[in-house]
Each structure stands twice: as C-alpha cells, then as structure tokens.
Symmetry: C2
Subunit: 231 residues, 2 copies
C-alpha cells in the first residue's frame, strides 16, 4: 500500500479532467448508436471514429473511469454505457428548471434527448404574465416568483437561464439564493456567482462570430503562409 503513496499525481479520488467529462456524453451517444446497430462489442478505433476523436485520446479518457476494456478484444458496449452513464450521474434523473419561456426556453423545453440522458425539465418560469399559464411541451409556465417553491418541490440543483442579457444576473442571484448549484447560461452576459456554484455558458452569437473569423481569414488567403517568415 505504502508503495503507491506518492506515485499518483493528484487524481486520488477520480477527479476526471474537464475536457474528458465534456467528451463522455459524446461517447455515450456513439455507444447508443452502436447498440442500436446490434453491436455488442467494439474497439477503441471504431468508437473513436464514431465519436470523431483520435483513438489514443478515447482510450486515455476511458482509462480515467477504470479498466473496462479487454486487451486484444475491445470494449463491451453495454458495460461501457453503464459505466459512463454512472460516472455522469445518469443513475438518477436530474430535474432542472428553465428560466425564460421565450423562443429559446421553448426550444429547450421541447428538446428531445434530455429524457434519455437523465435530464427532466421539471418547470419553466417567466415574469411575463402573457406567458404564465401557457403550456410548453407538457410543462405549464409558472411565475418566476415561484422559484423557491419549485426548487424545493423538485429538489432542483441545476437551472437553465434563457432570459435576455439584462435580466440574467438578477435571475442568477435568485437561483443561487434558492439553492441552485449549477447554472447553464444562454444569456449574453457574464454571470457573477459564488465559487461554490458551477456555471457553463453557451452564447449562440459568439459561436457564429468565431466562424466569421475563420471565414474572414480564409477570404484573405492566410492559410498557407507559414513560410513567410523564412523568406
């Protein structure tokens, strides 16, 4: 036992690198496809191909979860699905609340594929009286003031912010106060939250601007200019 005392870096308790965690759901999706095709086993090469990553990276990613492959053979599809799902917390269903019943909020409520991944939209909230009481994919829109009650009722830890940018910080403050500890932010705003709260941000406009940057470079012929310096 004492042998390994200092040999391990700092991943003592299986803290998986962020980059790996973000890819696990992709692997899970690829495995679901393989399973649907009737495959019961697969190699790292096949799975990597289906997930669009390099095989070595895939193997390293999976190695963080444990050794669930068989050398010379590959991975058992069902076994691997089970272990990745467990690691991602899919043994339980996570009830989430969506704040903002505008176009994006509606799109999210209706998004299929949440259910199969352990995510359930438990409630949708809005401040606009015109929206309150309407039905979004089977969930009734409730007043934002119900936030605390909703969080309590469903034991909600994860919230989605789909409001205009101006409203986002106020909503985030209320979410934190209500006890939410993870926020997915679609509003074009930088949220200020305590360190104990995890925030992920998705900005549709930013994604397009990054693409515009690449187009711009392409258009001005920057691609093969690596030798310029030697001239």
């Amino acid at each position: 036992m004492t042998l390994l005392r200092t040999s391990r870096p700092a991943r003592a308790d299986r803290g998986i690198p962020d980059a790996t965690v973000a890819r696990l759901p992709v692997y899970l999706g690829a495995l679901a496809e393989l399973a649907a095709d009737g495959r019961s086993t697969c190699s790292s090469g096949e799975l990597a191909e289906a997930a669009g990553v390099n095989p070595a990276k895939l193997r390293k990613d999976l190695s963080y979860l444990g050794s669930y492959g068989t050398r010379g053979v590959g991975y058992d599809v069902a076994v691997l699905r089970h272990h990745i799902g467990r690691e991602l917390g899919q043994t339980q269903t996570w009830d989430v609340v969506i704040v903002g019943a505008g176009h994006l909020g509606s799109a999210l409520s209706a998004y299929h594929g949440f259910d199969s991944r352990g995510i359930n939209v438990a409630a949708v909230l809005d401040t606009d009286p015109a929206r309150i009481g309407t039905d979004l994919a089977g969930v009734e829109v409730r007043p934002f003031a119900d936030l605390e009650a909703v969080v309590e009722e469903f034991g909600i830890a994860i919230a989605v912010v789909a409001t205009p940018g101006e409203a986002a910080q106020g909503v985030a403050d209320a979410l934190v106060a209500a006890g939410v500890t993870s926020i997915l932010n679609f509003a074009p705003a930088v949220l200020q939250v305590p360190e104990t709260v995890t925030v992920r941000k998705v900005d549709l406009s930013i994604e397009l601007q990054v693409l515009a940057y690449h187009e711009q470079r392409r258009a001005s012929g920057h691609e093969a200019a690596d030798e310029e310096v030697a001239g």
Copy 2:
C-alpha cells in the same frame, strides 16, 4: 531581417490562438457595455473584470491583435472595439442560412444581437411542407431544395444546422456541396466534412450532462479528498 528567421514560433501571419478568438466576442460585448456607460477609456483590469477573465490573459489576448493600448493609461474603448471587430470580420455583414425551422431554428432566427455583430439570417430552410412559407422573425421559410439557390443568391459561407440528429449528416453534405465552408451544428450528431470546412458544435444535452457530473460529485462529497492518498 535574417536575425529573426527562426526565432518566431509559427504565428508569422497573425494566426490568433483559437482560445483567444473565442474570447474576443466577449471582450467586444464588455466594451459595448462600457461605451454605453459613457466610458471612453479603460484599463485591462476593468475590462478583464467585465469579461470575467484574468487581466494578464486579457492583455495577452489583445497583444495578438497588435499594440493598441497606452502604457500607464489603458485602452481607448472605441479604438479597441474597432480593432477587435475588424479582426472578427465585422467590417462586413455575414449572411447565414439556418437549416431546420423547428423550435431551435425559430429561436435562432429570432435571436437578437446577431444584427449588431455582423450576422444576418438571410434564409431559413426546412423540408416540412407545413413549415414552408411560414414567417420566422421576418424571414420566410423556404424549401430545403432551394439551398443551392440561396447560397448563390446571398453568397453564403456560414450555415447553421438545427435539424434532428438523423438528418444532420445529409444536410451537412448538401451544405458542403453547395459551397458552404463554415457550419455551426446544433444537431446531436458528429458531422463528417472535408478538412477545408470548419465545424463548431453546440449540444444542449451535453452541456447539461456536464453539469450533472459536477452535481453528482458534489453530492458524493468528493471535493476535499486530496489527502486520501497520503493516509
């Protein structure tokens, strides 16, 4: 001249790191806010705060664009906006086509803040006859078969895929064939495209699964377990 021949890494022609490019739009947003507040100048510290990054990172990011600050003073808000905007290709308006007029496609068409960032939704396409002809935020939904015509008509280089996962690869193939060179993919599918085409992927379900992972760890008390190994 010969002095520098091999001293430079490979950024000869101002190829900005991907991570930096992804942050430039955030800086632009923060600068817009400062400008709206009547500020004409700002320090790296203030801007970094508003953008939610560390000041050294901000300065390094900006240094890739050139030296547009003044030592001892800071940055001129208007000047910096101009240069970041130019680098991101905002001197022109990018017409984009959205494929898929479902909930997400509708949300994207209606998304405000595209216009101010040089993005214009030129067309929305769908295969569903029930959707064709309907109006989405001022844009009429056209049949998917019009793709080539639309790309030609507007000179489109950037497309958004907002279809179900099963349809995504077929759509991507058609986009590439029509001459599109950048794709923003919202469909839960791994797109196979030629190397010359840039793809960015946003998967709503993945983002939530990553949050669920963090919640799961929190719940099982993994945070302060770094000493476990020494015991």
